[in-house]
Structure formats: C-alpha cells, structure tokens
C-alpha cells in the first residue's frame, strides 16, 4: 500500500500480542489501514475483537508487537514515548467512553488542560470559547460530579477540540449515554469535526453511529474486514 500526501494516518501489518496465563494471546493480527486527511472512519466489531487496541496503537498510546503506524508522515515506531507524547499533544484529541474528566477540576479547567500542556497563555479564553460552542457557557465553573452525563461528554468534546488537533480519536463516545443524549452528542461531534476539518477515527459497536462515518471497517478476532461505505 502506498502512502500519498492525503493520508494522515496509516497502519502497516500491525500486530499486537500479549503474554497471558494460557500462553501468548494475539489481540491484533496483521492489520493494514490508511485514513485520509479530513476523512471519518468507524471501527466496529464485537467486544474483545481488538477495536480499542487498534485505536490505542493508531493514537500512539501503545507499541505494536509487529508492524508500524505512520501519523502525519512520522513513523511512530521510530519515536520514543516522549516524542510520541509531543506528537499527540500537537496533533491528537481524544474522546473517551467514560469521559475521563478530572474530578478535581471544573469544566473550564478540564478544557484548559491540553492548552496548558502546550504552555499557551490564552488557555482560559480558548476554553471558555469552546465551552460556549458546545453550549456550556453557563457551566464553566461546575465540577464533573455536578454535570449530567451528556454535559460531561460535551466538556470532553470541548477538551478534545480546544487545541485544534488534526486527528480525533473517539472510543465509544456515546456508550455511557442514553439514546437521546447520545444522538445530541453525536451531532455535536460531527459538527465540530466538520468545522475543524479534523480527521476522525471512531470505535463503536453502534451501527447508527458508524453509519455517520464516511467509511467503516469491521474487526473480527483481531483481523480487519473492510465494509462498504
């Protein structure tokens, strides 16, 4: 597979195995994949099929046993953990199923976090603006436990987009929400994605959510099976 300039993320012959009590267990087996800039990709599959492992490898959160990931022209396997962290800080945003907001920080402070990591002075203003975009201008000083699930995920979305990442990784972003709230959050996610021209990689087992992505791939027992878009 060739990588053209439009490809922002690619995986080549990616494998991941771990040592378990019953010997070596292969979680991901020979996965090759390319994602174009601005595209949206859904990775679907049953629980334990290897979706989240693939997401982690694509985001550079973990190292593969074999194969390579290229992000924005950088081979991740040539970078050490520190360099990958710098790359993530610049290029990547995350949305998690369980939100992962820091309980000790207010909504505003949670959103400021990626900007603070970059050492930006306009962190507060930017955070306020983006929280306004997600409709939480009145919830700036609320703590996570004072927010509903939907609101918490909107804070997480704001945090994911606040530093203008090129890539957004989302792991079951609506998994912890009811149908209506989930739909609202999904709308917001795709709206922000369009607005920021972000490349979206999304893990889900919700076919409706997957259908909103331009492209869907299926994971089965650690292997990839492409489905028609």
């Amino acid at each position: 597979m060739t990588i053209d300039s439009a490809t922002v993320l690619s995986a080549q012959k990616l494998s991941k195995a771990v040592d378990g009590p019953d010997g070596r267990l292969t979680i991901l087996d020979d996965v090759t994949l390319a994602v174009e800039r601005g595209a949206s990709l859904a990775i679907v599959g049953a629980s334990g099929s290897g979706k989240t492992t693939l997401l982690g490898l694509l985001a550079g959160l973990d190292r593969p046993t074999a194969g390579a990931v290229t992000m924005a022209g950088q081979r991740l396997d040539t970078l050490d953990e520190e360099a990958r962290a710098r790359l993530r800080r610049r290029l990547v945003g995350f949305v998690f199923q369980s939100f992962h907001l820091l309980p000790a920080l207010s909504a505003e402070e949670n959103v400021m976090l990626p900007l603070e990591l970059e050492g930006r002075d306009d962190a507060r203003q930017r955070a306020q603006a983006v929280l306004g975009d997600v409709g939480l201008a009145k919830r700036l000083h609320h703590y996570p436990h004072q927010l509903s699930g939907g609101e918490q995920q909107r804070v997480a979305l704001a945090r994911a987009f606040v530093h203008g990442p090129e890539l957004l990784f989302a792991d079951e972003p609506t998994g912890n929400l009811d149908q209506r709230t989930g739909a609202a959050v999904t709308d917001l996610l795709f709206a922000l994605n369009r607005e920021h021209a972000t490349t979206l990689v999304l893990v889900t087992h919700d076919p409706k959510l997957a259908a909103r992505c331009a492209r869907t791939v299926h994971m089965r027992d650690g292997r990839l099976a492409e489905a028609a878009a």
């Binding site: 982690g56 962290a85 990626p114």
Partner: protein, 826 residues
C-alpha cells in the same frame, strides 16, 4: 507545558477541592507534634542540665591529683571567654580550743560558685546567699560546729591559722555527696599562705569553667586534646553518679517521647502520600494521553508536592511552637532552676524532618507514576507492572533510620527502638499474610456482609499490608507512650522506696557491733546492712605492682595511689548480682575475691587473677573468683571488692552500716553521743535531691508523653478516616445492590475489626518486648516487667477505636447517594 505554573494551578485546584487537604493536614499535624515535643523536650533537658551545673558548681571541670591544674588550662578558658574558679580539696583536722574535728576542707577562689548559689546560716538562724569566703573567714558544716562546740561568729584554727566562722553552710554547690567528713569552706589564698597545700598534702585540684554553651563545648574539645596524665575532665553529666543516672534516664524518656511522636508523624504522612499517589494515577494516565512527557509529569508532581510541603511545614512548626509554649507554661513549675530560653533547633529540625518524611514517603510512588501506561485511560484494569525490587522504596526506610538516629541522640536508644519497630513490622507482615491465606480458604463460610468486608482485605492485599503495618506501628508507638513509658517511670520512682537507707554509720568497732545493732533495732531502724570494712592499699595485681600508666581509665590511678576498701560476707549482698564466676560463700583454703564489674574492666582482670592488698601490717593475696554487678544507686553500703569471710575476718577492720530511720529521730543523736567514736553521715539531703529530680523529671516526662499521645491519636484517627475513603466505591455498589445500613456496617466493622485486632495484638506484644529491651539497655532497670494486662486491654480498646474510626469514615460516604459515587468513579 510550564511545570511551575502547572504545578501551582494543580495545587490550587486540588486543594480547593479537598484532594490535597488530607496530605496537607497530616503534614501540619506531624510537624506540629514534632516541633512541640522536640522543643518541650529540649527545654526540659536544658532545665535539668542547668540544675546539674549547679551541682557541679560550673559547666565543666578539669580535675587533677596532687598538683594544680596546669596554667594553660586557665589561660585557654580565659581566651574562650569562660569564667573560671579554682578549687582545692584536702582532708585536715580542725581545732578549736581543746576540741578537734576531722574535716574535708574546700579552698575556693573569690569566683566561687560559678553556678548555683552558696547559702549560709547566720548566728541568728537567718539564711542568706553568701559570696565565697573572704580571707580570714570560713563557712563550716553544722557537724563541724557541733564537733568543735563552736557557733557562727566564733573562731577555729586550720593549719595554724586563726579564722572566723562567718556562717553555717546550708548549701554549697560542687560538693561530693558521699564524703565521710564534714566540710569547711575557706579562701584559697588563706590555704596557700598557711602552707596547707605543700608537697604530700594529698590535695585534689579542680578548675571549674562556665559560660556560653558553644564556648564550653569548644573548650572541652581543646582540653581533651591537651589533658596531661593524672588529669581528667568532669562534665555536668558525671557530676554525681546517683544524679547522673536520674538525668540520663530523664533525658532518655524525653527523647523516646519525641522520637515516637516523630514516628507517628512519619506514618501519617506516609499513608496520606501513598493515597495521594494512588489517586493521581488516573490523572497521570490522562495527561500522558494528552501528550505530557514523563519529565514534565515528574517535575510537576515534585513541584506540586514542594509547594504543598513548604507552607504546611512552616504552619506546623509555628503551631508546634505555640503548643509547646502552652504546655511549658503548665509544666514550668515542675522544672528546677531558671527558665531556659526558647530553642529554635527542634522546630527547625521538625520542619526539615517534615519535608524529608513527605518526600521520602511520597516521592517513590509519585515517581513510579511516570511509568503509568497511557492506555490505562481505555483500560482501567491495566495495572502498571510492579517491579519486584525498586531502589526508590529504600528511600523511606533510609529517611526513617536517619530520623531515629538523629532524634534519639543515642545509638542504644535508636537500636532498641529501631529493632523493636522492625520486629513489629516483620511480625505484622507474617501474621497478615497468614490471615489473608486463611481468609481466602475459609472466608466463604462467613455470613454475607461480613464475607464481603473480609474479602476486601484479600482483594486489596498490598493496601491491606500497608494499612495493617502502619496501624501496628502507630499502635506500638501509642502503647509505648501510654502504657510502657508511664510504667517505666513508675518503676523508676520505686527505685528509691520509702525505706531507702538515709543514714550511714562509719567506724563501728567489732566489740561495739552487737550493742550497736541492738540499739538501732530499738530505734526502729529498717533495711539495715552492716558490713565489715578494712582499708588499705592495692599493692599488686598478679604479683606485680600496678602502675596508673598501664590503664586507659584514669580513675584506675586514683585507686592505685589512694586508699582502697574491702569487705567480706558469706552471702551476696542485696543489690549485688553475680555476672561471672562463682560467689565464694563462706570461703575455702585460699582467699577468694569478688570484684565489681567496673573494676574488673578498669583493671583488665580475668577470673583467676590475683590481687594483693596491704591492710595495716598484713598483706593478703586473693584470687578473683567472681564478678558482681552492683547497683550503686541503691544507697546501700557497697564495695568494689568483697573477700570471703574466712580470710577477711582476720584483717584489722571496723564496721560500716546503712539503714533507714525517719529523719529527725532524736535517739540517733543520743547513740552518737554514747558511742563517740562512730561517725554518723546523714544523707537525707541527697536522697531528697534525687527524689526531687525523679519527681520533677517524671512529671515533665508525663507531660511530654501525654502530649505525644494526644498528637499520635489525632494522627492515627486522621489516617484511619483517610483509609475509609478507599471503600467509597464498594459501599456505593453495595448500596446500589440493596444493602441496608446494618449490612453495610457489618461489612465495614468486620474489615476494620480484623485490621484493628491484628495490629493491636502485634503492637501490644511489640511494645511489651521493646519496653523490656528499653528497660534493660537504656534505662538500666533490669527487673522491669511491662503491665501485660493493661496492654491487653489497650489492644481490645484500639480494636474498638479502629472499628469506630472506620465506621465514622464510611458513614459519611454511606450518606452520599450511590449514583454520585458510581458516576464519579466511572
């Protein structure tokens, strides 16, 4: 990322949210306890030392035999800005008309006394503080005035000089307690001009110095390096053997209390730090995910800790100083002498120790956080791989060891306490592992809620071990403070029971012995020991005349050149214990000798060696057949050398007696008049002095112990409340699943009862063992036995306390709606 700004912001946010408040509070409390106890102990100690200085008559003495203390010692003292006082002591007969009296003369220069006050009684009976005797004047003990039949204002003669009696001595600093002749205090110039200090006078010379503590320390260093033979330094600490033991024990008690407070503080901080690190794990994983580097995370965490620690330690130190000031105001009247200045050292060291303990205990788990996998944000179950050995974890142990060593100021105290605590830690580990194994196997048979509570212990194995360990160590410290310390003090007080001998009688002749004993019995004397006494010279050891230069201990020279006394008895005297060899009993064919342990070491003897004594015209060569440990604090008649009676009885001798009679017993004066040759020594004053010191020190120590105890309890409760938080999630889950209050309580109580009982029992056993070891090695109270019943009760009490604290901690959580907890934890 700007680590400093980031750390400051994190600190502010987390503090506001209460996240860091527990750690901050533990630190403030710990440093406050440490600063308060340390400062109080130091002030009490300096008050005691000041009182000891008064006994010595100065801060440091240089003593020489036969010749004056060399001039350079005086010049150096002046160069160091120290005040000096020369004293010469010798025995002489004093005359008044036809009467004569054997006395101990102390000739002093006008600087006397450098420390303490000289009090005399005038002819009219009024007491006053007096300066050193002027030329042409003396002060004399009452016994001298009675012996000579003179009053204050009349005259006496010493060495041909006619001197005015200017006062009766009430209190003169720097005297020896057990001198067997009454004292006359005269001017040094008079003694010199009367030719009393010529060759062969057998005088002993002392130079006393006093001044700034640092200057005295410096001078002591210089003097030690320049001491000629037959000269030695006498410090405040060895001013008086009996009092010294009292001082040393008092000091050890204070240090023990301060050390235990420090230990409790360390445990509290360690628990809070551990918890802080655990809570940070999720956050670090997220930050890693968002692209923070390892270096940035470590730097930010360290900075955050420093930003928390420095103000907390400052507040703690200030609070501690305030607390000790309040305690000192209460304890003030119990202390002898003037008010010692507020020392800053202990508060400063509490500050440093606070930082050291925090970083020592908190850094290892925090630094380990840099290894948290960013993938943990997706997989909560992704535990950071635990390395089997991590050198970082040695840091808290090193901090603990240094803490114990520095605070104890004594290797022996540090060793016993360190060993005891290590033993407690090891025993706790072993017993807990066994309990967890048993629970895993047998836990299934327990009823529901209780099973859940105990299963938690098994599930959180590492945390359980840490918590039981910390709990056992804190309870050991509390047991030592609450039970062992006071009972040791009680045992110390009992060292001088009411019937402690308060009179000594010398020079009872063999033909007076039976009559004397009958008369004493008639007066109601108790605790009588009557032993023969023969005085002479030590002329040979293993056939060779001993030389002072052969022995490193300079006291050996005193005995070689001076008089030695020997006694004999068929039974081992009370307050003596055979530590080597066999007691000679009635005696055999050849003379047998039992030697005091300190002599045995001083003269480098071995069992089977011979010692030759010349007593009057006779010489006796005896084989050393046993070594005794003598309790010199018992105020009984005791001897360095004891012969077998079969051979001793043949030597020229008199008898010496010690006994107890209520003071102001008039019959004794009559006895003294009827047997004019006997000398009666009244030691009620010194006994009162020792009792006074014991009382004052133990009252002050009770204060310090009590203070440490309260601080320790607070620390323990805070730590327990914090561990209750760990159960947040389980309790919410149980509630969600429909558990009622009773079931929740059963789960929590079961878990905490197991923790408390285990820790309480191990702690009681550990405290008892440590107490026995402390009594034997540090406090020299060999027959001390800790009150096991009380310790057992405390173990039960602490179990209940732990259960209640656990219940109180979880109650708050149980009141929170479970959905809040579950949502927060998800």
């Amino acid at each position: 990322m700007k680590p400093f700004a980031f750390a400051a912001r994190s600190l502010r946010r987390e503090f506001r949210h209460g996240e860091l408040a527990t750690l901050g509070a533990a630190l403030v409390l710990a440093v406050a306890a440490l600063a308060a106890v340390g400062t109080l102990a130091s002030r009490v100690e300096s008050a005691i030392l000041a009182s000891a200085s008064e006994l010595l008559g100065g801060d440091l003495g240089v003593a020489a035999r036969r010749a004056a203390v060399p001039e350079p010692f005086v010049e150096q003292a002046r160069a160091d800005n120290l005040a000096t006082n020369r004293i010469v002591e010798f025995s002489s007969v004093v005359f008044a008309g036809d009467a004569s009296q054997f006395t101990e003369i102390r000739a002093v220069d006008p600087a006397f006394p450098l420390r303490g006050t000289l009090n005399v009684r005038d002819a009219d009976g009024g007491e006053r503080t007096a300066p050193a005797p002027a030329s042409g004047e003396v002060y004399a003990d009452r016994a001298v005035l009675v012996g000579l039949g003179r009053r204050v204002g009349e005259r006496l003669q010493i060495g041909g000089r006619d001197l005015a009696i200017a006062g009766e001595i009430v209190n003169a600093p720097g005297g020896s307690v057990f001198q067997f002749a009454p004292t006359v205090l005269m001017s040094l110039a008079d003694a010199e001009s009367a030719g009393l200090l010529g060759p062969g006078s057998r005088a002993s010379y002392r130079l006393l110095v006093a001044g700034d503590a640092a200057a005295v320390e410096r001078y002591a260093g210089w003097a030690r390096a320049h001491l000629p033979p037959a000269t030695r330094l006498t410090t405040v600490e060895d001013a008086q053997q009996n009092l010294r033991t009292a001082f040393e024990r008092g000091e050890s008690f204070l240090r023990l209390a301060a050390l235990l407070a420090a230990l409790l503080a360390g445990i509290a901080v360690a628990l809070a730090a551990q918890r802080f690190a655990r809570r940070k794990t999720e956050e670090v994983a997220l930050l890693r995910c968002l692209g923070a580097s390892r270096g940035e995370i470590v730097l930010a965490l360290t900075l955050e800790l420093a930003l928390l620690a420095i103000p907390a330690c400052l507040i703690g130190a200030a609070l501690g100083l305030g607390l000790q000031q309040a305690a000192f105001a209460f304890a003030r009247e119990l202390l002898p002498g003037s008010t010692p200045a507020l020392p800053w050292g202990p508060a400063a060291s509490a500050f440093v120790i606070g930082l050291a303990v925090l970083f020592g205990f908190a850094l290892p788990p925090l630094l380990r956080l840099r290894d948290v996998e960013p993938m943990r944000v997706f997989r909560r179950d992704l535990e950071t791989r635990i390395r089997r050995f991590d050198a970082l974890y040695l840091l808290p142990f090193a901090v603990g060891a240094v803490l114990i060593l520095v605070e104890s100021g004594s290797g022996r105290l540090a060793g016993v306490l360190g060993g005891g605590l290590l033993g407690v830690a090891a025993a706790t580990l072993a017993v807990t592992v066994l309990l967890l194994k048993a629970l895993r196997v047998g836990g299934r048979r327990l009823p529901g809620a209780l099973r859940f509570g105990l299963a938690n212990l098994v599930r959180r194995r590492a945390l359980t071990l840490i918590q039981v360990g910390a709990l056992a160590l804190s309870l050991t410290a509390l047991d030592l403070l609450a039970v062992v310390g006071p009972s040791l003090l009680e045992r110390w007080r009992a060292d001088l029971p009411a019937d402690t001998p308060n009179y000594f009688v010398l020079n009872v002749q063999p033909d007076q012995r039976a009559d004397f004993q009958t008369r004493l019995a008639g007066l109601g004397a108790q605790n009588l020991s009557l032993l023969p006494l023969a005085a002479g010279k030590l002329v040979a050891i293993n056939g060779k005349p001993p030389q002072a230069a052969d022995f490193t201990d300079e006291r050996a020279g005193n005995w070689i050149e001076g008089e030695v006394r020997v006694s004999w008895s068929a039974e081992v005297p009370p307050s003596n214990r055979i530590v080597q060899g066999t007691w000679h009993g009635g005696g055999g064919d050849t003379p047998q000798l039992s030697v005091d342990q300190s002599w045995f070491e001083m003269f480098k003897l071995a069992l089977g060696d011979t010692m030759t004594l010349r007593i009057g015209e006779q010489e006796i060569t005896a084989t050393v057949s046993s070594v005794r440990e003598v309790d010199w604090d018992s105020f009984r008649v005791n001897f360095f050398m004891m012969l077998d009676p079969a051979h001793g009885a043949a030597l020229p001798h008199s008898f010496i007696a010690s006994f107890h009679l209520p003071p102001a017993q008039t019959g004794l004066a009559a006895l003294s008049r009827e047997m004019p040759n006997i000398s009666l020594v009244d030691i009620n004053a010194i006994l009162d002095r020792v009792r006074d010191i014991i009382e004052r020190v133990s009252s002050a120590v009770t204060w310090v112990l009590g203070f440490s105890l309260v601080a320790g309890l607070l620390v323990l409760l805070a730590a327990l409340a914090a561990t209750a938080d760990e159960r947040r999630f389980e309790i919410a889950l149980l509630r969600t699943l429909g558990a009622n209050n009773g079931q929740l309580n059963a789960a929590v109580l079961g878990e905490f009862a197991a923790l408390g009982l285990l820790a309480g029992v191990v702690a009681a056993a550990g405290a008892a063992a440590t107490g026995i070891a402390l009594a034997r090695t540090v406090f020299r109270l060999p027959d001390y036995w800790p009150p096991l019943g009380t310790l057992g009760l405390i173990a039960i009490g602490s179990t209940i306390l732990v259960m209640l604290a656990g219940l109180a901690g979880t109650r708050r959580i149980a009141r929170t709606p479970p959905v809040t907890v579950l949502r927060g934890a998800s």
